[in-house]
């Protein structure tokens, strides 16, 4: 679980070009959107591709992303349960 969290944080930093941010700066339970990390709707679309490409999880409805992408904790929980690769 911890390894997956670390991996996911590194991937998020990379695909979203979050310069000056390290995995340690992202708290597991912190909000990724709005307050917290401050991601926006374009980032949400990038995360949908990340889920597909890395974990084989297809999200057809962008609205579904809202619940899944609340925090690192919620993402990891969803990935663990639904990953196909």
């Amino acid at each position: 679980m911890t390894a997956l969290k670390e991996e996911l944080k590194r991937q998020i930093i990379e695909v979203l070009h979050l310069e000056d941010i390290t995995p340690a700066d992202i708290q597991d339970e912190e909000a990724l959107f709005g307050e917290g990390l401050g991601l926006d709707s374009i980032d949400a679309l990038e995360l949908i591709v990340l889920m597909d490409k890395t974990y084989g999880i297809k999200l057809a409805d962008p609205k579904k992303g809202r619940d899944i992408f609340q925090s690192i904790d919620t993402m990891v929980a969803y990935i663990s349960e639904h990953r196909t690769k």
Partner: protein, 399 residues
């Protein structure tokens, strides 16, 4: 400034619902849409999307234009030349080389369709190198101007999906400022893998024919095509005794300055564009008899545009429809294609239908026209909005 605006004396169009103005009119009246599965090039998305594709192949378009086999016209230039030629013919523009004539085109995809096809060979083989200079957006305008024999002020606008509306506006301003006597204005865009995949990544492509202003709308269908208008000054029209199809009386351009791709909730940019166009035309909102909406059928656009229309028209929203279920969203060409439809509406005293509408949006208190409606029209407003918050509105008035 002349009181009657700038005269439209010719128009030409090619879209998924026809290769001439008459064919397009017939399809609108018959409610016959042009959406299909994509056929002109292979793509992984074929079974997932519907497109407003013009079925003439590039070879057929080239042959029809009488181009040599080794031409370097991209599909964008081919569609553009095809529509612009009609516009010139319809304006009876042969001769008259004494007039200062310009050409303002617009495109978003430019020569991307050939770059995506042959780009991978450019570094290893010279075979397709003639298409390298065809890539930039401006090249399609050069090719079309050369084909039409226009020498003078030739340029290109690119403001995403509002491009052609801005090209039309630029042309009108050139005439009103007396820099030109006559100008051919419009836009052209071909379908490409680049754009369909781009819109796919935004998750705003519908997997069914689009339903503008419907509560359950699922996104847009892309399309391709081109359309051009011939604009002339009132002086030239009177001197030559020309037939006027309609007058371009109003235009407005504003920026939503809200988000890179999404429109603001209250449709501020759209509101400002419509407000400016009304001011230029010196018309009150009540004078507008029909609105040809941008109406892409994305959840975001239709809500934002609808709110902006309610802000402009209050409780008296005039009959409105989006014609995108007929043609798909033709991107840079949309403003010109819909300008042709707006002029047809004025000429025929007809409101084209908003196909596939079923359930009203609960956020709005307005319902589009779902069947062809015949009524006397004096002024038509046409909206075009694009990524980057670029919002433009045009007003056409009966000749």
């Amino acid at each position: 400034m002349t009181d009657r605006g700038v005269a439209v004396t010719g128009m030409g169009i090619i879209s998924a619902i026809g290769e001439t103005v008459e064919e397009n009119l017939w399809s609108l009246l018959a409610g016959k849409h042009g959406l299909s599965r994509i056929a002109n090039f292979p793509t992984r998305l074929r079974e997932q999307i519907w497109v407003g594709e013009q079925k003439k192949t590039n070879d057929e378009l080239s042959a029809s234009l009488g181009l040599s086999e080794r031409n370097a016209f991209t599909r964008t230039a081919l569609l553009g030349a095809y529509a612009a030629r009609q516009a010139l013919e319809s304006a009876n523009m042969q001769g008259a080389h004494d007039l200062r004539t310009g050409f303002i085109s617009s495109t978003s995809v430019g020569g991307m369709d050939y770059t995506e096809r042959y780009g991978p060979t450019y570094l290893t083989s010279p075979e397709w190198h003639r298409y390298i200079p065809s890539h930039p957006a401006g090249d399609s305008s050069h090719k079309i101007a050369e084909y039409l024999g226009i020498k003078g002020l030739v340029t290109t606008v690119s403001t995403a999906c509002s491009s052609a509306a801005n090209a039309i506006m630029m042309g009108a301003r050139l005439i009103r400022s007396r820099r030109l006597d006559r100008v051919i204005v419009g836009g052209t865009d071909a379908l490409s893998k680049f754009t369909i995949n781009g819109f796919h990544t935004l998750m705003i492509l519908a997997d069914a024919p689009c339903q503008p202003f419907d509560m359950h709308r699922k996104g847009l269908n892309l399309g391709e095509g081109a359309a051009y208008l011939v604009l002339e000054s009132e002086e030239i029209v009177q001197r030559q005794g020309k037939k006027v199809l309609a007058y371009l009386t109003g235009y407005g351009n504003a920026n939503d300055a809200f988000h890179q791709t999404a429109s603001s909730e209250n449709g501020e940019g759209a509101f400002l564009a419509m407000q400016k166009a009304l001011a230029v035309a010196q018309l009150t909102p009540q004078a507008i008899d029909y609105v040809n909406a941008h109406g892409t059928a994305t959840p975001n656009n239709d809500l934002s545009e609808g709110r902006a229309m309610q802000r402009i028209f209050k409780s008296n929203v005039p009959p409105f429809s989006s014609t995108k279920p007929f043609t798909g969203h033709t991107l840079a060409a949309a403003g010109a294609i819909e300008a042709v439809y707006s002029i047809l509406a004025l000429q025929q005293d007809m409101v084209p239908p908003n196909l596939h509408f079923d359930t009203p949006m609960e956020e709005l208190d307005m319902i589009p026209e779902t069947a062809v409606r015949h009524r006397s029209l004096s002024h038509v407003l046409s909206n075009s909005f694009g990524f980057g918050g670029n919002c433009s509105s045009l007003i056409f008035s009966k000749a």
